[in-house]
Amino acid sequence: MTDHQVVAHPDAAVFAEFTELASDERIATAAAALERNGIRPLLAATGADARALVGSLLADGAEVYNNTSQTLEAIGVADDIERSGRYQPLRLRLYRMDREMQRRELRNLAASPDHVVGSVHALTEGGSLLIASASGSQLGPLVSGAGQVIFVIGAQKIVADVAAGMRRIYEYCYPLEDARARQAYGVPSGVNNILVINKVMTPGRITAIIVKERLGF
């Protein structure tokens, strides 16, 4: 689905519902559920702490793809990955490729990064992760293509269940992402693909850092 009409901004009630930080109790509930589902939960008090945690999880010289994420930009992780010189930033490598001659190389590299760092649009108290994407290119690596996945998740993204997560995507995230895409790329966004990760079969492959701060949307 791609909508060429500008999407209405979330109203006050929706905004309030999906920007409120989860309580410590709900964070603990979600973290415990993640662990049961094979996803390693880590807690960070601040964005700075989360940034340091990400740094500790990535070895020097690692090949890293940073997903498009307001969260990563806000806490400096996008900058660490793309500009610090510590890693091989896959995003920059893809961007410089010849878009006519290197399509195959682009597709192969983008599909299987060693590490992906990104965020989610909702984390349920039952330990499910929801990610929406306009292009869908980032979803395959999250499911199986990437060697390791690290999510940084502001605690305002914790919702009761998958249904609430879907509402968060359509009613709150989509309008904000649409506005961002129009400004950044000159095109509308769209809830074209949604990934729900309920459980993983390789425990530890995905790490979810829950931050007790409002980060991203």
Binding site: N67, E82, D98, Q102, L106, S137, Q138
Partner: protein, 433 residues
């Protein structure tokens, strides 16, 4: 609600850098701006090109609609700092690319980071040799600008030159090899049993052995007025930074080798029409058959054999190429927005002259048994020169710069790898740490 879809590739969306990159403001006809575009492109730095003649685009990045012409090209670095009248050297320094050597001495100094140099770096560093590579422009050499190498072993679907260079650079660094970029070689001088290599910024590198893998540069086309148009429609090499700018335009490529053929394939994806000019009677003598087959099958490619460039027409940039075909004396104008010259090669052996390395008449470095048989070489040791060794013990040559080498990427990689085994023998000979 509309169900219309905006076509978009992930290049424009999910691969776009999330953090500020380099912005370059300049004119298309500027040689300096082209030099920076080429440098950034070949070193893998994404950048945004802003045409100084487009006020809205200039205002979007600078807040004002015009830039003083004397300040062009203007480069904005990721940290926001601005470099007016920017040069490649300033941009390289501003991006933190100019590092000093970390060691006081190396086992092997490699001059050039093309396929031969990078292969040597990977092999030497992986075997524990303290290895440094110096490169004036960018890793990859001429092969790094190749759009797609389809006959390199192990890549049945081909691999682009830039991707091969990127992978090799990562591999060399992972084993601990150092790469010193953006400085050219000034010269090499004796230093005990080893050698000191001097770079253009005054950096001195002490190496127990040296490998010249400096490759070749494009041979100049001797046509009146052509040098004045460098960067303004005339380019040497495959010009990877210019491909997108050739969209819908008329491109002329000169040359009969694989580099020329690969450039034609690349530009045919963007340009309205690509004309390949070849001086010889056919392509078979110098181009791989798979490329000849590719060119034949591309509808917007026109191959003209027995044709040479005799002139150019231009105002502020190239507008047409004048050619002469066969035995005819008639000069014909060929409308052209860009001319890419991929002819032959001249060895990059300049820095080798001062220390007295023997070259052939064309400047290629003479090695191995050819040294033993060359009356100009006064070989000083009782043993014979090693196969890739020059007339100075401990200085080797590999790849395109070496006299007698096969001018193919795979052959250069083979020679670079082989050189490391010979370096070991030399190091064992001179002993010490």
């Amino acid at each position: 609600m509309s169900d219309r879809i905006t076509p978009m590739s992930m290049f424009d969306y999910d691969a776009r850098p999330a953090t500020p990159g380099v912005v370059l403001v300049g004119t298309r006809a500027s040689r300096g701006a082209y030099a920076i575009r080429d440098f950034l492109s070949r070193n893998g730095y994404p950048f945004e090109w802003v045409d100084a003649g487009q006020p809205d685009a200039v205002r979007a990045v600078l807040g004002v609609a015009e830039v003083e012409p004397s300040a062009l090209p203007l480069c904005i670095l990721p940290d926001g700092s601005r470099l007016p009248s920017a040069t490649v050297e300033q941009v390289a320094a501003g991006l933190g690319m100019v590092a000093a050597p970390s060691r006081s001495e190396y086992d092997l100094t490699i001059v050039g980071a093309g396929p031969a140099g990078l292969a040597a770096a990977v092999n030497a560093a992986s075997e524990g040799l303290r290895t440094v590579v110096v490169e004036a422009v960018a890793p990859g050499g001429q092969a790094g600008t190749t759009s797609m190498i389809e006959n390199y072993l192990g890549f049945p679907n081909g691999i682009s030159g830039s991707e091969l260079a990127t992978r090799a650079t990562v591999q060399a660094r992972r084993f601990g090899a150092e790469l010193l970029l953006a400085r050219s070689l000034v010269g090499v001088s004796a230093d005990g049993a080893g050698y000191v290599t001097e770079l253009s910024d005054g950096t001195l590198i002490h190496g127990r052995t040296v490998l010249f893998a400096s490759g070749v540069e494009w041979r100049r086309l001797d046509v009146p007025g052509i040098d004045d148009l460098l960067g303004a429609g005339v380019y040497y090499g495959a010009g990877p930074s210019e491909a997108l700018a050739c969209t819908g335009s008329r491109v002329v490529v000169v040359g009969g080798g694989n580099s020329a053929g690969q450039a034609v394939v690349r530009f045919s994806r963007y340009a309205r029409q690509v004309t390949l000019l070849v001086r010889g009677p056919d392509l078979g003598a110098s181009m791989s058959q798979y490329l000849i087959d590719d060119l034949t099958a591309i509808p917007n490619v026109d191959v003209r054999v027995r044709t040479e460039v005799v002139g150019v027409e231009a105002d502020d940039r190239l507008r047409a190429v004048t050619v002469r075909s066969g035995d005819s004396t008639e000069h014909v104008g060929l409308p052209a927005d860009a001319l890419f010259i991929c002819i032959g090669g001249a060895p990059r052996s300049d820095g080798a002259e001062g220390i007295g390395l023997v070259t052939n008449d064309s400047g290629y470095l003479v090695t191995g048994s050819d040294i033993a048989n060359d009356p100009r070489a006064s070989w000083p040791l009782p043993r014979e020169p090693l196969p890739l060794e020059t007339n100075l013990p401990g200085i080797f040559a590999a790849g395109d710069v070496r006299c007698g080498s096969v001018k193919r990427c795979a052959a250069a990689i083979g020679e670079g790898s082989m050189a490391v085994a010979l370096v070991h023998r030399r190091l064992a000979e001179v002993g010490g740490d």
